[in-house]
Subunit: 401 residues, 2 copies
Amino acid sequence: MLVVHKYGGTSVGDLDRIENVANRVAKAREAGNDIVVVVSAMSGETNKLIGYAEHFTSTPAKKELDMLLSSGERVTAALLSIALQSKGFDAVAMTGRQAGIVTDDTHTYARIETIDPTAMHNAIDEGKVVVVAGFQGINKDGSVTTLGRGGSDLSAVALAGALKADQCEIYSDVDGIYTTDPRIEPNAKKLDTISYDEMLELSSLGAKVLQNRSVELAKKLGVKLYAKSSFSDNEGTLISEENDNMEEVLVSGVVLDKNQARVTLRGVSDRPGIAAEIFTKLASENINVDIIIQNVGTDGATNLGFTVPQSEHENAKKVMAGFDHDIEGMDFDEHVCKVSVVGVGMKSHSGVAATAFRVLADNNINIQMISTSEIKVSMVIDEKYGELAIRTLHEAYELDK
Amino acid sequence: MLVVHKYGGTSVGDLDRIENVANRVAKAREAGNDIVVVVSAMSGETNKLIGYAEHFTSTPAKKELDMLLSSGERVTAALLSIALQSKGFDAVAMTGRQAGIVTDDTHTYARIETIDPTAMHNAIDEGKVVVVAGFQGINKDGSVTTLGRGGSDLSAVALAGALKADQCEIYSDVDGIYTTDPRIEPNAKKLDTISYDEMLELSSLGAKVLQNRSVELAKKLGVKLYAKSSFSDNEGTLISEENDNMEEVLVSGVVLDKNQARVTLRGVSDRPGIAAEIFTKLASENINVDIIIQNVGTDGATNLGFTVPQSEHENAKKVMAGFDHDIEGMDFDEHVCKVSVVGVGMKSHSGVAATAFRVLADNNINIQMISTSEIKVSMVIDEKYGELAIRTLHEAYELDK
């Protein structure tokens, strides 16, 4: 079996932890598997380097930043390879370039365009463990590029796809995907399996184990993903194609996102294209809009509501001030949060949303906005009720069972 | 004028020093020059990384070591480029690979085979300062290689040659080449010029400003070298082809090398090839032999003497024990040093060696071994007289004038 492992910054945070990772890789190798390992920079290293660059300017050139930041992963890759060799395993370290990763020109946020896995296959055929510096590639001109936040996950998934690996195991300091944040609800349970789509909803909603880009890519390439802990031997969570088994489970998880501010616009003029104008302007100011709700008020005027990250709240206010001749009243609230219920089972079961609404109502929690998708119900509520809502929803859907 | 600058680890030792280097490069650029800068890793960085590797094994694989160590120079190159950009200069950082440096396969001690300067020329034509990570290249397979100790000097000289640069300025924390070590003789004077050959003798004799490999390469490629300080605006020393001017100077410098141990073999059997056997065996044990002296004793038996580094003294003893049936008597002394007088003027002036012998005799310093070349006289003496010998020789040749 060909398996790609990926170890994050915390898992390779110091030399003893790199040794620990070497032991895990060695064990997997001894079990008879071919192994490609993707590593992040040692934790703190990337921020240290960014700090160095910002000593000179708050806006360092992205091309230079990429050369700077890519060095951290190279160090870890070389060290892990040395650690494996010291245990008697044949290993070879490769940079993103040597692993065959070619990206576009978008420095600091490059997209992988092609991967030529020949060098990796050759090394595997020679019986070697391949250790690849994550987060990086080169563009067509040969300049070093990096893949943005969570880029090492992306490297791992992309390499697993290019190598047609049997599975890709993402190691971090948590041992899988939980029904909700265990810090909020101690009865949260680790999930054995979850679908790509549920994972996408969960991670975009605030679960930080796996980056969305990686899950999207895994879905696209059909890579079987495991989220595991590098500090335990627990089974972890398999993220894969949805199957019948999964659909029996009504709800997979509930998530809290506290980084939300709400904007409500009353009496928006019925001039055609006004909504487009508003959201184009917000986008041009790099304000990410999350939930958008529009409905017609009782008097025929349109009411429009949306949420933005709390940090963008003031900027959103400024942008909206430019529209005040088109809008009767504006209402801003940065003390809101979003609770979401996610599950592929919703597709074939009705009543999931109704349960959520009833549970919140029973607890006197007023729902300010509602947004639904095929596998998700999101509700914007007063920030102070966030944890309570999560706990009661978790219990209502029997996620602790 | 196209100028290559090279800044060593101390010159880029922290962020403020990198800023200082940026200011120096900026000044040279503003003077109308095209500039290519080669940088070392921040001081301490390379040793830190070696320490990391040695956490796992005392013999890390050289290929991995190269990927590990090459990261330090990349960080400095990116940071210096960012610092230059923050001052409004157009700059681009390049790895050894991007600068077109291709080496052989000898990891950790690679030789530069070819340099394709196209990318550098293109950047220069676009008005950019090019900042290159020193010490590194790639081999034909695309693996990262490093050039060994002093490798950044070598990168700078080789790039200057490939670019047909007008001169190559090597910056360190000393402001040039001195007539002798100023810590021994406070009246030591900085030389304005020195020939490649004198520099080669001086650096192999213990002056540490420039590595031999770099001076040899500069000589071969005809690169005009300047040794300068990055902490002052002093003129520095020009190292170039010997010229008539230089020959008027009898002696350029005197050097002390305390890392010497002496081996004397009396009554070596006249079996043909015995000397070859001895030195082949020493070489196979990686013992570097410096001075070798052989002469015929009064009784017709051969006497043989040589020096080795003090750290190899015990090893040399062990090796020589294997020859004791061929040798009447052996004498080992690790309390010796070597003082050397260097100058191209010697070629055309006699009496330089005689002066040295007389000066040492006048001070009751016994000369144990003598070795001469066209531009050098070396004498092995008792270690405790080393500094005295240097001071009296420095005065005798009027090097303080």
